[in-house]
């Protein structure tokens, strides 16, 4: 019986192989006649498309740019995800470059280790990397899309301290890495700027070198529960998918939480919309879109970083739900001070 | 009783012209490299219990698989009720009224008795299981054959005997008129055996035919109406249980005069090989498992340890082999105190070991025979050369053991699991003898082996004794103990309570000592 099944299957495969050969040609050749010359390669961070966060934000920016430039979202964008253990990141970038995608955008600092070497190997291709500074690398065809997360987080700290009743707030970081520490540093500084004696609990879900803290809602929930029980009434997370757990804990505790990266109020369930006070926005989509637009109109200055901060609205606070409408003036005040340089926000805790 | 060709079975004439329920003519079945059955002749009358006896590995099961359609014979014919029949599958056999009750039950725990019985041949009404109809038929079967079962009990709550009855009922439910029972008593305790025999009598009374496979001769004589003996794949004769002794049957099975364990002349020398002084082994329950055991085994001497199982014999063996720490006392081998030695050092110093449970301690079942040859001898030639395994040496020596000890196996690459119990045991004995040990610890050396292998092992032990080996024999077989031992020690609650002279001892007396009835008084020698 199994033999027959195997034969049938093999036959089926052979037939469909023949069938697909006929139309296989044009889908493989990648046209290139749609939206000008723009063919964008995107190498995702762990998790790939559909992470409701970082990767989705980046691809939204790419699609917006391609559309506005008259390209075809299906034809002119190639998205690749790394494998489970991230061991093939180099392959992703080189294969995109080999296949003549230009520019190639690497989403996430994890590519920072290798992208300079690959960019040097393909001098005719433009590369961009999100979240990593490339200024000191001296590679002409490489651009760093970096963010002043500490500035946005500072405002989140201001909002939290202003709204906290108990004078006790919390921070849950995904992984104890320099990037997430920028969030913490800004958040704590912002909170202390409002209430110098405020108590800020800080927890990281996984240590450096272990990315599991970004995909561990259970761990996020436990961490946040601990903070709420200890008296915190607002918890800010910078923990990717683990933030879901933080929101759950907030719902259960009847307290509030602050989201990250995108306006998480918009994608939350009605329960959680009641507790997501605001989100610290990190507009990867805007950064990527701007980058592609400047690439398309030849105004790109590569070999350096593009900083996205409060002044460019690359970072900021969301206002969905109206929970922080009453303190808008305080926030606006601090924002202006930061932009003006009157307030210096630290980048390390 | 002399061997008679089965074809000349007196019953054939006695039964006149009524066809046999089952008749096999010249059945031969070959497997690659081996003929499992050769020229089998079998005649089973309707309404009788017909026993098929033979040693393990004689080909009984192959024959039954032929009869149950699990494979087809290469030669010969099968006649059922006088009609030539071809059985292509068990389904064919069932359709022809043959049912098989396997040695290992094939029942699912979470089904009720009723469900288990109907499983596979459910009466349906409109696609649904017709429970009422099934229940009616099952009740009828239960009452007709006096099978005392409750159809609604879960199988998991049943004892072994009841499960067997469920299997029988299941076969009857499918309309079998001839039942094959493969070693049905192997899993039963004596009382259950009696119940089973009662059920078989009921089946017979109702006109059903039972083919009963066994190698337990006493049972066979008790239950069977006629007996067919199989040896080395072929039928060697038939016997009438009323006029044949178990010993005669056994001799037919083995094909020669049955040896007895008796040793004639003493070969005991002066030099002690093994000396135990106050050996004590702690146990978890408080009372020591072995309590101050003192004994000496000399060259050429067999010291037997008698005792009801669980009185510390196993722990004593473990202690001598270094598998269990001593709580007190000393063990010396040829004058060296080996109390603190590792098992390996003891073995290297000349201790051979035939363990009580060969599957657990004596063999690697999933390894080939030549690797089993190495087990326990990993540090000694011919199995090893330096730090390396000597494959060809081990293989050659395995072949020697197979030859000299009559281990029946296709070759040295066969897995140990594929051998019958007797052949496994002979391989172990051959292995342990091959390094020429000074001392052999033989724990139940003939347990679970067939008569032929038992005789062979007794001979080997006697030869080893004659060559001056000291042997410590632990056994539950009183005849074996009395027959082989030069000195007998009785073990009771961890103590050696009596030293007896086997020359003037009956099994009944020995039994008395083992249960403590003769406490102390029996220290005759």
């Amino acid at each position: 019986m199994t033999k027959t099944a195997a034969l049938l299957l093999a036959g089926g495969l052979a037939l469909s192989a023949c069938a697909s050969d006929e139309d296989g040609g044009d889908s493989g050749s990648n046209g290139g006649n749609g939206g000008g010359d723009l063919k964008v390669g995107v190498a995702y961070d762990t998790g790939g498309r559909g992470d409701k966060s970082f990767n989705d934000s980046a691809i939204a920016g790419v699609e917006a740019a391609v559309q506005s430039l008259g390209g075809d979202v299906d034809e002119d964008i190639e998205e690749l995800s790394p494998n489970e253990d991230d061991s093939n990141r180099e392959e992703l970038l080189t294969q995109l470059a080999e296949a003549d995608f230009n520019p190639v955008i690497a989403v996430g600092f994890a590519y920072g280790d290798i992208i300079a070497d690959i960019a040097a190997d393909y001098p005719d291709t433009q590369f961009a990397i999100v979240d990593t500074s490339v200024e000191d690398l001296g590679v002409d065809n490489l651009t760093g899309l970096i963010f002043a997360e500490e500035q946005g987080s500072f405002l989140a700290g201001v909002a939290a301290a202003s709204k906290s009743v108990t004078g006790h707030i919390g921070f849950v970081g995904g992984q104890q890495s320099p990037l997430i520490e920028k969030f913490e540093a800004g958040y704590v500084a912002g909170a202390e700027a409002v209430k110098p004696d405020i108590v800020v609990d800080v927890t990281y879900l996984s240590p450096a070198g272990d990315g599991s803290g970004f995909g561990d809602p259970e761990g996020g929930k436990v961490a946040a529960q601990g903070m709420y029980q200890a008296g915190a009434d607002i918890v800010f997370h910078a923990a990717g998918g683990s933030g879901e757990g933080v929101f759950e804990a907030a719902v259960e505790a009847g307290q509030r939480a602050i989201g990250v990266d995108s306006d998480q109020y918009l994608s939350a369930s009605p329960d959680q919309q009641g507790v997501i006070m605001t989100s610290m926005l990190k507009r990867v989509d805007l950064a990527v879109e701007d980058y592609l637009n400047s690439f398309a109109d030849d105004s790109l200055e590569s070999g350096t970083d593009i900083l996205n901060d409060l002044s460019t609205e690359g970072v900021g606070l969301s206002e969905s739900g109206g929970y922080i409408d009453d303190i808008q003036d305080v926030i606006a005040d601090f924002r202006q001070q930061i932009i003006d340089g009157d307030v210096e926000v630290p980048t390390t805790p | 009783m002399a061997e008679a060709p089965a074809g000349a079975h007196p019953a054939a004439a006695a039964n006149g012209d009524a066809p046999y329920a089952v008749e096999l003519r010249g059945i031969t079945k070959r497997f690659p490299g081996v003929v499992a059955n050769r020229d089998i002749e079998l005649r089973v009358r309707r309404g009788e219990v017909h026993a098929i006896v033979g040693e393990n590995g004689a080909g009984k099961s192959t024959l039954m698989k032929t009869l149950y359609g699990m494979h087809r014979p290469d030669e010969g014919t099968i006649l059922l009720d006088g009609r030539e029949t071809t059985l292509r599958s068990p389904a064919d056999a069932i359709a022809a009224g043959i049912g098989m009750v396997h040695q290992h039950f094939m029942l699912a725990d979470y089904f009720t008795v009723l469900e288990s019985i109907v499983l596979g041949s459910e009466p349906t009404s409109g696609g649904r299981l017709d429970r009422a109809e099934a229940r009616r038929r099952i009740r009828e079967i239960f009452s007709r054959y006096a099978l005392n079962l409750d159809p609604d009990v879960l199988v998991e709550d049943l004892g072994v005997g009841d499960r067997q009855r469920v299997e029988i009922a299941k076969v009857l439910y499918r309309g079998a008129t001839t039942l094959i029972l493969d070693e049905p008593t192997a899993v039963l305790v004596p009382q259950e055996v009696d119940e089973l025999f009662g059920n078989l009598a009921e089946l017979k009374r109702e006109g059903l035919t039972v083919i009963f496979i066994s190698h337990k001769l006493d049972e066979v004589r008790k239950v069977a109406d006629s007996i067919t003996v199989i040896r080395r794949g072929t039928t060697v004769g038939s016997a009438d249980p009323r006029t044949t002794t178990a010993r005669q049957l056994a001799e037919m099975m083995v094909g020669s005069e049955l040896p007895s364990p008796q040793t004639r002349t003493s070969t005991v020398r002066e030099t002690p090989v093994l000396e135990l002084r106050g050996v004590t082994v702690a146990s978890l329950t408080g009372r020591p498992a072995v309590d101050g055991a003192t004994l000496t085994v000399r060259e050429g001497e067999v010291v037997g340890i008698a005792g009801v199982e669980g009185n510390g014999q196993a722990e004593l063996v473990d202690a001598i082999m270094g598998l269990r720490p001593l709580a007190g006392g000393t063990i010396s081998l040829g004058g060296d105190d080996i109390s603190a030695w590792s098992t390996r050092s003891r073995r290297e110093a000349g201790v051979g070991f035939i363990p009580e449970d060969r599957h657990r301690q004596g063999m690697l079942l999933d390894a080939p025979l030549w690797e089993n040859r190495i087990l326990g001898h990993q540090t000694r030639p011919p199995a090893v050369k330096g730090v390396f395994i000597d494959r060809s040496g081990a293989r050659t020596d395995t072949e020697r053991i197979m030859r000299e000890y009559d281990v029946r196996a296709p070759g040295v690459d066969a897995l140990a699991v594929a051998l019958s119990g007797g052949n496994q045991q002979k391989l172990i004995v051959g292995r342990e003898m091959s390094s020429g040990p000074r001392l052999l610890i033989a724990a139940h050396p003939t347990r679970g082996v067939d008569v032929g292998a038992q005789a062979a092992i007794w001979e080997l032990l006697k030869d080893a004794r004659a060559e001056g080996m000291g042997i410590l024999l632990i056994s539950a077989d009183l005849d074996e103990l009395i027959g082989l031992s030069d000195t007998l020690q009785v073990m009771l609650r961890g103590r050696l309570v009596a030293e007896l002279d086997p020359a003037s001892l009956t099994p009944e007396e020995l039994g008395g000592h083992m249960t403590g009835a003769h406490d102390g008084s029996g220290s005759a020698a």
């Binding site: 099944a5 | 497997f31 192959t62 010993r247």
Partner: protein, 393 residues
């Protein structure tokens, strides 16, 4: 004949598993509305130019090397019945310390490479020995302790990386140890392609491949040909029989875990010495767990593990081209997962077939009756108690 049959039955289970996995995967691909044959073509399409094709080979081999070592490390313990789930932690510890040690010293090239390898093996072995010591002295299950030690290893490695061994400057997004100097790197063996007349690939072929081959042969010889290997396998087949044969079970647990850990220590080195030259936050984790799958698929034999590692690597290579063909890369993971699942089942089926065949070869009928020591001492030869007695008296 028997040799052919043995090889046949050895290949049977993995073959069934692979076929099963391909069927399942084809169904999954159909379900998401893509064409299974495209996936099949992508799997075997190594590229158009000779250089692309050799590059595909390089990608496969480079991925196979650590997988092979991981499978080997797991299998050594497996063979004696130990479940070393701790390979993950062992190679993490080994890699971070080897990276630290390698960056801290200056030695001539061969010695430097040797030192890094020795440090890695020693650390892996030591870390594994904790599991062994807990097991033999306290009876702690190696499964539990090695899982716990994986977490501890994660913490310690992270602390070492961010603390004493930190090499990257403050504020860098990726934290790494100091780079290994040139002398501590394992040269690529791309010369091999010239020797066999193939085009030079774009990337470098890990020289550590040679080390892996040597280690594989060494382990194969150790297991198959030495007394120690016999003791190890015997313990795995039947601990009680092994003890009765004079094998010191505790000693074997310790020695086996030391070897398993030492091999585990090598897993991170191909990447460390051939590509990244430092341990960092982007360290490739999870190979220890993949190793369990590879060992299962390879049925714990070094040759089998080599094939299993190559198969996994072959599938992993397709992860990128599959995405170009608009088929999610997780297809690869599905195939791998199904293979491993299927192989466990198939192994069992193949084992039963082999056993049954072995039994049939000896002409024995059914399954060997378990000669359970029955309470009745005359269990199998009922005539014994009365008959010889009469004859002998």
């Amino acid at each position: 004949m028997t040799a052919v049959r043995r090889v046949g039955s050895a290949l049977l289970a993995p073959a069934i598993a692979v076929v099963f996995a391909v069927v399942i995967t084809a169904l999954v691909i159909l379900l998401i509305g893509e064409n299974p044959s495209t996936a099949l073509r992508v799997l075997f399409d190594f590229g158009d130019t000779p250089a692309q094709q050799t590059q595909s080979i390089v990608v496969i081999l480079n991925r196979a090397v650590p997988l092979f070592l991981a499978g080997l490390a797991v299998s050594v313990a497996f063979r004696m019945g130990l479940f070393n789930i701790g390979v993950e932690g062992q190679y993490r510890m080994a890699t971070v310390l080897a990276a630290g040690a390698g960056a801290a010293v200056a030695l001539p090239a061969p010695l430097h490479v040797l030192l890094i390898i020795v440090v890695a093996m020693a650390v892996g072995a030591l870390w594994a020995s904790i599991v062994a010591i807990l097991k033999v002295t306290r009876g702690v299950s190696e499964v539990i302790s090695s899982i716990m030690l994986n977490f501890i290893a994660l913490g310690i490695a992270s602390w070492l990386l961010t603390g004493p061994l930190r090499g990257s400057e403050e504020g860098a997004a990726i934290i790494t140890t100091e780079d290994l100097p040139e002398s501590g790197r394992f040269p690529a063996i791309n010369g091999l392609f010239d020797v066999v007349g193939l085009a030079q690939p774009r990337g470098e072929l890990y020289g550590f491949l040679l080390v892996a081959i040597v280690v594989g042969i060494a382990i194969a010889v150790l297991l198959k040909r030495t007394r120690f290997g016999f003791d190890l396998r015997a313990t795995g087949l039947s601990p009680s029989a092994a003890t009765a044969s004079g094998i010191d079970a505790r000693g074997m647990v310790l020695k086996t875990m030391l070897i398993s850990g030492a091999v585990a220590g090598l897993i991170g080195l191909p990447d460390l010495m051939g590509r990244t030259h430092h341990f960092g936050t982007e360290f490739t984790a999870g190979l220890g767990f993949l190793g369990i799958a590879v060992a299962l698929l390879g049925r714990n034999s070094p040759v089998g593990i080599a094939f299993a590692a190559l198969l996994f690597a072959f599938l992993d290579r397709a992860a990128v081209p599959l995405q170009f063909a608009d088929i999610p890369a997780s297809v690869v993971t599905i195939i791998q997962g199904t293979i491993v699942l299927a192989v466990v089942v198939a192994n069992e089926i193949a084992r039963q077939l082999t056993r049954r065949r072995a039994e049939r070869d000896t002409g024995q009928g059914g399954p060997p009756a378990p000669e359970s020591p029955s309470p009745n001492p005359t269990g199998t030869a009922g005539s014994r108690i009365d008959e010889p007695q009469g004859a002998g008296a």
